[in-house]
C-alpha cells in the first residue's frame, strides 16, 4: 500500500465522515432562560429522595488507588456529588435507618508511605460531609470488589469489617457509641453477611459458614462453624450474593444459584437451581463480571449477569442480564447490555431500574480495529470510561447512559 493510496483512503474517509456530520450535528436550541439576578454563590445540599432514585459508583479507581472516590448520580445519570474515600476503597454502606453513608477508609501519613490509619467514616446524607470517624485497627482487607467486606447488623448499630494481614479476623464497631468494640479471630472464614438481628455469617474456605453472634453491646457472644453446606472446590459460591427477606441468593462458578436462609439461630440451605438450560450451558453461557447479582425484594426477582465465552475468564464483562423468578426459579426475561458490564444493582422501587456498571469504549468500531491492529490490546489502556447504564428492570428497555465517573476504573454500582 503506497503512501499515496493511504492518503487517498484517508481523504475518502474524511469525505464519508463529512457526510455523516451533516446529518448528525446536534441542532442548537437557543431558547432564552430567565433567572433572578444578581446571583449569590452557595453550596448545594441533596434533596430528600426516596430510596432507589439515585445511585453510587465507587471502587478502587485504578490506576489511582490512592485517591478513592464515590460518585453520586441521579437516576437520569447526572452527577449529584462525590466523596473522597482514601486508599484502595472497597465498599460504601448506605444506612437508611441511621440516615448516614458509611465507608471504611485507609490513609497513609504520606500518601503511599508513612503511618497507616484505618477509619470508619460516616457521611451526612444531605451535605455529604463527614459526620464522625472511628479509628479501627489498620488491618482491613482490600479486595478488587466486594460489597460485603464491610457489613452492618440489621438495626445498623454494629459494623463488621473484614481483616486480612494475612491473618483473618473481623473488627466489630459500634456506630452508636462511635467506638471500636473488638477484633475476633476468624481463621479460614471471611466476609460477613448479615442475618437475624445481630448475626453475621462468614463464608469459610471449606464450604461451611461461620456464625458470629453479637451481644447487646456488640461483644461477640458466640462463634460457631456450620457443617459444609456447599462444594468450595467444584462449584464455589461467588462472593457477590443478593438478599431477599432473610434469604441470601448466591451465584456459583458453574452458573447455579444457591439460596440460604439466615436467622440469629442458624443458616439453612434452601433452594438450588441452574441459571442455564443444558443447551445454554453447552453453547458457552456462564457467569460474568464482579458484582454480578441483584434482586428486587417486592417482586422476588433475581438478576444475573451472564456472558458467552471461556469459563475460566469468568470476570470478563457481561453481555446480558437474565431475570429469574425466585419462586418458580424460571427465567422470565433477557436484557441485552449496551456496554461491557462489570457489576449490576436493582433499585427497590415499585418500578425497579436495573443499574449496570459498565466499561464504555467511546470509540467507533473502526477506530477500535485500527488501534487493535497497530498496537494490540495495549492500545486501549486508558481509553475507556466508567459509566452506568440504566434499564427498566421490568421491560428491559434501556433508559439512559450516565455521565462519566472520571479518573479510573470503578467496579461497583449501588442504588441509593
Amino acid at each position: 500500500m503506497t503512501r499515496r493510496s493511504i492518503l487517498f483512503g484517508a481523504v475518502f474517509l474524511l469525505i464519508l465522515a463529512g457526510i455523516g456530520w451533516l446529518f448528525l450535528s446536534p441542532g442548537s436550541s437557543d431558547e432564552p432562560r430567565e433567572s433572578p439576578f444578581p446571583e449569590t454563590a452557595f453550596v448545594e445540599t441533596l434533596e430528600d429522595a426516596d430510596p432507589g432514585e439515585r445511585f453510587w459508583v465507587y471502587g478502587l479507581g485504578a490506576p489511582d488507588f490512592v485517591d478513592g472516590r464515590a460518585y453520586l448520580f441521579d437516576i437520569e445519570g447526572k452527577r449529584l456529588g462525590q466523596i473522597s474515600t482514601g486508599y484502595w476503597h472497597t465498599n460504601l454502606l448506605p444506612l437508611y435507618g441511621r440516615d448516614e453513608i458509611v465507608s471504611v477508609e485507609t490513609y497513609f501519613s504520606r500518601g503511599t508511605r508513612g503511618e497507616r490509619t484505618d477509619v470508619v467514616v460516616a457521611y451526612d446524607t444531605t451535605t455529604l460531609k463527614p459526620l464522625y470517624e472511628i479509628v479501627i485497627p489498620s488491618k482491613r482487607m482490600m479486595g478488587i470488589t466486594n460489597n460485603f467486606l464491610v457489613s452492618s447488623t440489621k438495626d445498623e448499630r454494629f459494623l463488621a469489617v473484614t481483616n486480612y494481614t494475612p491473618a483473618q479476623t473481623l473488627t466489630i464497631v459500634d456506630l452508636e457509641s462511635k467506638a471500636f468494640v473488638e477484633e475476633v479471630e476468624t481463621p479460614g472464614c471471611m466476609i460477613p453477611h448479615a442475618g437475624g438481628e445481630r448475626s453475621f455469617f462468614l463464608i469459610c474456605s471449606n464450604g461451611a459458614f461461620m456464625h458470629i453472634k453479637l451481644g447487646p453491646d456488640g461483644a461477640v457472644q458466640s462463634v460457631e462453624r456450620t457443617p459444609v453446606l456447599f462444594d468450595a472446590i467444584e462449584d464455589p459460591l461467588t462472593a457477590a450474593p443478593s438478599k431477599i427477606g432473610d434469604t441470601w441468593y448466591f451465584m456459583t462458578r458453574e452458573a447455579n444459584v444457591r439460596a440460604f436462609t439466615v436467622s440469629d439461630d442458624a443458616i439453612t440451605a434452601r433452594d438450588e437451581w441452574s441459571l442455564l438450560t443444558d443447551s445454554e450451558r453447552s453453547s458457552g453461557w456462564t457467569i460474568a463480571g464482579f458484582g454480578h447479582s441483584a434482586a428486587h425484594e417486592k417482586t422476588g426477582r433475581f438478576y444475573a449477569l451472564v456472558r458467552q465465552g471461556e469459563p475460566h475468564q469468568f470476570e470478563d464483562p457481561g453481555e446480558e442480564v437474565w431475570v429469574f423468578d425466585t419462586e418458580t426459579q424460571k427465567r422470565i426475561q433477557r436484557i441485552t447490555m449496551k456496554d461491557l458490564t462489570i457489576s449490576i444493582d436493582v433499585t427497590q422501587t415499585d418500578e425497579p431500574k436495573l443499574l449496570t456498571k459498565d466499561v464504555h469504549i467511546p470509540l467507533s468500531l473502526l477506530e477500535q480495529m485500527r488501534i487493535f491492529a497497530s498496537q494490540g490490546q495495549r492500545g486501549f489502556d486508558g481509553l475507556t470510561q466508567a459509566r452506568v447504564n440504566v434499564y427498566d428492570a421490568t421491560s428491559g428497555d434501556h433508559i439512559v447512559r450516565s455521565e462519566i465517573a472520571p479518573s479510573g476504573t470503578y467496579l461497583n454500582v449501588k442504588a441509593w
Binding site: 433572578p36 454563590a41 445540599t45 456529588g81 462525590q82 451535605t127 497497530s374 455521565e403
Partner: protein, 173 residues
C-alpha cells in the same frame, strides 16, 4: 508502523494550520491542559459587594460548554458537571473565600456583566468538564489576575480544589 497513522497525523497537522482562528486543535489543546482557577481583575472577598436589587437575567446556550458566555474567563472544572451549577458548589464542598471578578458579554441581551469566579474546595477534583480560557490571564507573579495557581488557598477547606463557578453579580457599567 508509519503509514496510516502518519498520514492521518499529517492531515491533522495541516488541518490545524488552516483551520479558523478558534481552531479545532487549538480548542482541543486548551481543553486538555487540565484544571486551575480563575483570572481577572481585583481580588474580591466574599460579600464585599452589596447585592440588593432583584432583577432578571436572560441567557441562552449550553452552560456546560466552555464557550458559554459567563465562563469567558474560567479555568477549571465546571461545577455544573459535578453536582453543582454555575452558581452553586456541589455538596460537601465550601465556596472559596477569595474570588476574582471578570467581565463577560451576554449575547442574549447584549450587556456586559461582572462575573465572580469562586471555586469550590474540600474534595478531590471533580474531573469533569475542564475549561481553560486565558483571556487577560497574567503571569503567576501577578497572582490577582493569573489563573495558573490554586485559588482554594486560604479557603476554609484549604487547597483541595474541586470545581469552579461563574456567578453573575452585577451589570458592568
Amino acid at each position: 508502523m508509519l503509514s496510516l497513522d502518519e498520514a492521518i497525523e499529517q492531515l491533522a497537522r495541516r488541518r490545524a494550520r488552516t483551520s479558523s482562528r478558534r481552531g479545532f486543535i487549538g480548542k482541543l489543546g486548551a481543553v486538555l491542559v487540565g484544571a486551575a482557577l480563575v483570572p481577572l481583575i481585583p481580588v474580591r472577598r466574599s460579600a464585599a459587594f452589596a447585592q440588593d436589587t432583584s432583577k432578571t437575567l436572560k441567557e441562552s446556550g449550553d452552560p456546560l460548554d466552555c464557550n458559554y458566555w459567563r465562563h469567558c474567563a474560567i479555568d477549571g472544572y465546571l461545577c455544573g458537571c459535578c453536582g453543582g451549577s454555575a452558581t452553586s458548589c456541589p455538596p460537601g464542598t465550601v465556596v472559596s473565600d477569595i474570588t476574582w471578578i471578570g467581565t463577560c458579554h451576554n449575547p442574549t441581551d447584549g450587556k456586559d456583566y461582572v462575573i465572580s469566579y469562586n471555586d469550590c474546595c474540600g474534595l478531590s477534583d471533580c474531573g469533569a468538564c475542564p475549561c481553560n480560557t486565558n483571556k487577560d490571564d497574567t503571569p503567576i507573579y501577578r497572582p490577582q489576575t493569573s489563573n495558573n495557581l490554586n485559588w482554594c488557598a486560604g479557603s476554609q477547606a484549604d487547597v483541595p480544589y474541586h470545581c469552579s463557578l461563574s456567578v453573575v453579580i452585577a451589570v458592568a457599567e
